[in-house]
Symmetry: C2
Subunit: 308 residues, 2 copies
């Protein structure tokens, strides 16, 4: 197939899933047509809610994702899912066992699931994930669910690019997890206390609310904290509702903040692509051989990139 960018984007906008799949591949691999395709598709975007789903391992994110898809489908919404995976040169984009559960939606034409692999790209995976979500938006999906594994900076970056992010926590995890909340507080649009039938759920809800109150004294406009039992589907429609409401309440100022994050991320990734591998190779060799200090060399490389 040899579509022009115009044909390609028209096909995506018309709901052609093969055109969409190829578009996602172009974005993931950062091949040349991706940039043109994104510009062409942009006027077709703006309808979908891009909802992040993040939280520590073991919080039940995949089960919750499955139930959120179900809830959205029951309301007649079409759902795109982006599963952001860590990957390695060995496995090249792992298929997560947990995700197989989403397979029950695989025969439903109103659900489109796609994995995004971190390819050790310099700028991370956040911008590419956002671009992929835009493509799904243009293709007519009403909800684009972006599920991340892990709780590091990469996940925070991905969450920042979403319209609203659901942070999933569970009762009874240790100090580590409590600490992670710090980094995650700023990106949470809605909290889900999952496995809420376990002891400690109520305390966790109060704990989260207590922390939120430091910033939102009256808890007005604070992110809602909802209890879910994903394995039974309990509380999930309400969670979806809360996330969608949050997206629609966003003020112009909040949308500007969102675009600032996205632009920043897009720029870092683009600049990273400007670096000539041979220059980098030679520079690293000079340092390793003790011939020059890394800071002077970094200055030189920077000069060269900026002069291009």
């Amino acid at each position: 197939v040899n579509w022009t960018v115009e044909e390609w984007s028209a096909r995506i906008a018309a709901g052609d899933q093969r055109a969409l799949a190829r578009g996602l591949t172009a974005i993931e691999n950062r091949t040349p047509p991706a940039a043109g395709l994104l510009k062409a598709i942009y006027p077709h975007t703006g309808r979908a809610a891009i909802v992040g789903l993040t939280g520590p391992p073991g919080a039940g994110k995949s089960t919750l994702a499955d139930r959120l898809i179900e809830a959205a489908r029951n309301q007649g919404r079409r759902v795109g899912v982006l599963a952001v995976d860590p990957s390695s040169p060995y496995t090249g984009g792992a298929i997560l066992g947990d995700r197989l559960r989403m397979m029950r939606h695989h025969t439903d034409p109103g659900v489109f699931v796609r994995s995004m692999a971190t390819r050790g790209a310099l700028g991370g995976i956040a911008a590419a994930t956002f671009h992929a979500a835009l493509l799904m938006d243009a293709a007519g999906f009403d909800l684009v669910l972006v599920e991340t594994v892990g709780v590091g900076q990469d996940e925070v970056d991905v969450a920042r690019l979403a319209h609203v992010t659901i942070v999933v926590l569970v009762p009874g995890m240790g100090d580590d997890v409590q600490a992670l909340k710090a980094g995650i507080m700023e990106i949470a649009g809605v909290f889900a206390v999952n496995k809420a039938d376990r002891p400690g759920a109520r305390q966790l809800v109060s704990q989260i609310r207590g922390t939120l109150q430091l910033v939102h004294p009256s808890l007005e406009n604070a992110p809602p904290v909802l209890e879910t039992v994903a394995t039974e589907g309990k509380g999930v429609p309400q969670l979806l509702e809360a996330a969608l409401a949050r997206r629609h309440e966003a003020s112009l100022e909040q949308r500007i903040e969102g675009w600032k994050s996205r632009l920043r991320q897009m720029l870092v990734e683009r600049i990273a692509e400007q670096m000539a591998p041979a220059d980098l190779d030679q520079a690293a060799r000079r340092i390793a051989e003790g011939r020059q200090d890394p800071f002077t060399i970094a200055d030189e490389l920077l000069e060269r990139i900026l002069r291009r």
Copy 2:
């Protein structure tokens, strides 16, 4: 105090901990003297082993860090610790409960503990962490232990900058954690199967070895996989030994690879600092108001940065 960069670096090299602490602050906040200080200090570096310690929440990293410090101190080594924390605008660099355990080393002048906060910096925290480690190296610490929380791209970046990274895993974690291993495989210099007194430890060891064998068929030069019970200190001296051996075995080619990662990271962070906040603000507003598409705007901003 108003030291020149020369005095400042001389003081650090002489082991003045106040000068070191102020240097670390300059690096963390990216204030102007940091760059000059790093160049001045660089000739004093190269002696320390910079050892990363990473793994999922609940793997017992902090207890292991505590025991590694103990083991290194028993051998008469001086130890610097960098604890890389997620943080938020609210908490501004969380103090992790778990880390308090390291406090028992606080009165030991041969141990210097410092937290590094992710300040939502564009380029992440990896380069700053590496710079901080170099400062500790120059200050005469023989071992610089870099402990990260979480398992995202940021942790992978930090680990890449270390000389060698210990990846801590525990038996009995779910699919999520197994998947995380994929991303982590490429950065692991040594594996610690912690809580090795629990059921499933042996299987986990074989599982890791099995995966390693895909790349190192004879398991020669493969990262060693060691069992530890950090709470009792079991296996910890051997783990330290293995990490230090790994660092000393690094070939010139491996050291060149290490410097490539470091340079790349340093450059991304520096370029990110070139962006004028006002430009970004205005650009984001134009997108949010629907006046222009983000891709055309990103092109324009990129032009402006590269032309500076």
